[in-house]
Symmetry: C4
Subunit: 210 residues, 4 copies
């Protein structure tokens, strides 16, 4: 946009959170628009038609859970950020762009999950979107650390450890992109497993509770 301020001022993270929460909540809720009973249910009736929608349910649940988890992680990270400069806001916008676009590959994957060769394209685009979201998330908080925007500075060793761990978190999505060309359902299942891993309480995973 063009007017008002020549350059946006550093923003308190409060409104950054409010805007981001809005996008997270809307993107998650818009997913429902793709759950629709087909116009023609004459063959086998409604129960049969609902059963045929299972790719929609699977994609819905994985996408909803993934948005929910990125919301949780975003929340946890922004809490540690003291102030937002323009670079951070821009990277946050890139992250939100990936979040808000999720209903598109979700809808596409649900539609093509059982379609011959197109299933591979649909699953690759789907997991690539989640990978892109992960990369944007990683970039945003790496930027925040380097730009000194974090409230409590961590030691260089701890920061290096965190960075490696975070990069490792991108690996499953990268694998899911490749896996898409072998099996679309397997690729979706891997994305779902990532979500499940983050949703389960730490003690079930043998980790100390956060």
């Amino acid at each position: 946009m063009s007017t008002g301020t020549p350059a946006p001022q550093p923003a308190s993270t409060a409104r950054l959170e409010a805007f981001s929460d809005g996008i997270f909540a809307i993107a998650a809720t818009l997913l429902v628009l793709d759950l629709r009973v087909p116009d023609d249910v004459t063959t086998g009736g409604l129960a049969h038609a609902l059963g045929q929608l299972w790719p929609n349910y699977a994609a819905y649940v994985v996408s909803f859970a993934t948005i929910g988890i990125i919301w949780m992680n975003h929340h946890a990270q922004v809490d540690r950020i003291a102030r937002a400069d323009r670079g951070l806001l821009t990277l946050n916008l890139v992250l939100l762009l990936f979040v808000s676009v999720i209903p598109f590959p979700t809808s596409m994957l649900a539609r093509f999950l059982r379609a011959g060769s197109d299933q591979h394209v649909a699953a690759a685009v789907y997991s690539a979107t989640l990978l892109g979201m992960g990369v944007a998330f990683f970039a945003m908080f790496t930027y925040a650390r380097r730009a000194g925007l974090i409230v409590d500075q961590v030691s260089p060793a701890a920061a290096r450890f965190l960075t490696i761990r975070n990069l490792a978190g991108l690996v499953p999505y990268a694998i899911a992109v490749g896996l898409a060309f072998v099996s679309a359902p397997a690729s979706l299942a891997l994305c779902g497993a990532v979500a499940l891993y983050y949703l389960l309480p730490e003690r079930l995973l043998g980790l100390p509770d956060a």
Copy 2:
């Protein structure tokens, strides 16, 4: 999601409320997208076509009121929660998944309420969704109580009483699922009666005002 924090931090309930409120508000408002005048209104004109939409109005009002009431109850319960751990956030996500999916069974019920045998399937799915939402709500706050997240601990006797009362609140929805196979309109009416019960001021029900 994969990056940033290996495990989400305990969240203040403030942002839990903001995200949840967003989902409640959006799900309630998206319901309107299913109110549409049919393309063909030549027979009998618009007034007749609007009259034919009564199942849409009925399902709209019951769903809107139900989301409104779960919002109120969510509000009242979260106010008593001191902090949110990952388990609570996950159960809250499950609850929000049920809330945000409501436009789907609502749309389906409106469409099939007058359709031969499919009306039973549609009504059963509809009331099962509300039942699932109720179970998620029950699970979330039972978890909060057991995990010691509640601000003011209630006595064991009071807690037992509350649990029984809350479980009892699920009974009408379970009945509505069964009733769906007898009469879809009756099942919807029962769901509406539950909403109405919670909306009426306590004094009209002979209860002390909350």
Copy 3:
């Protein structure tokens, strides 16, 4: 909903505002979904097709402005409310139901504004929805006054005066319902004039600035 609390607790108005603001904002933004270029633009091209959409633009602007104004008034009134009991929350839900349903009559009016006799039905439903919203607003704040929920009590004389003035505010919408059966565009124009009246600064109307 059925679980958690047998009866919702009195809510702080903060979260009442957040939920209401969400519904206002979403309903206003969903209006855009009905602005769509028709599939067939071969006759006369896009410019001609866009020109044909003027009923959509008119209905869009009137509905958007009306939602904006009810948001402003809601804001001003809730600021004076000390606490929300269940009756107030219920009446607020009724108000929000009218707000969130607005995209439906808006879409219908845009479609039928130039259609023979159906334009009267569409315009009557449209202005009746705005009237219903006004009545719900009136009921909500009359209830708040009678239930002693208002922060600064006004004198009985002032309260009577305000009530009369507020009731008078419903008159234009009631007239618009009747006018719909004479001319749909005139009915819409009257609704737009009400919005314009509230949007113009007080000094242009010869009123003291609020």
Copy 4:
């Protein structure tokens, strides 16, 4: 709306921000609804069909980024406003009307970007919408300055400088409107360049960091 208060009270900017943030977030997220795989993907398969959607991606990204930037600028400006009177709320509503309508010209531009002569109309409407948004933004904060609503008054010289600079910010959009009649893609690219300019960190542009 007609009831409650005869005239809306001056509003704290907190709720102005909340409502505006809601509209920004929803408008940005609704853009995704126009990303849809065409029904017929038999020719060339899904990958080909996705490739054909590039006008949709381009328009999506430019619109999303533009809404994100106006959000940032709105944020920075509202932070300097001490209180909101009715005039400011009304101008804010006009701004929000332009923001919330963006999905409409975006969808239209994506559809007509490769269509003979209609591309010019679509691109002109698109950039005119962004221009209108910029004008509303300019008007809102010029009003705030003149009405003495700004927290920290700037000197007359600085105010004049800011006004000129802000007016200059409208020029690219005005050029984009004219450019639309030469080349629709060039017009969209110019709008995108404006967004990019505001997104890049100041130091890359040789400006002091805000």
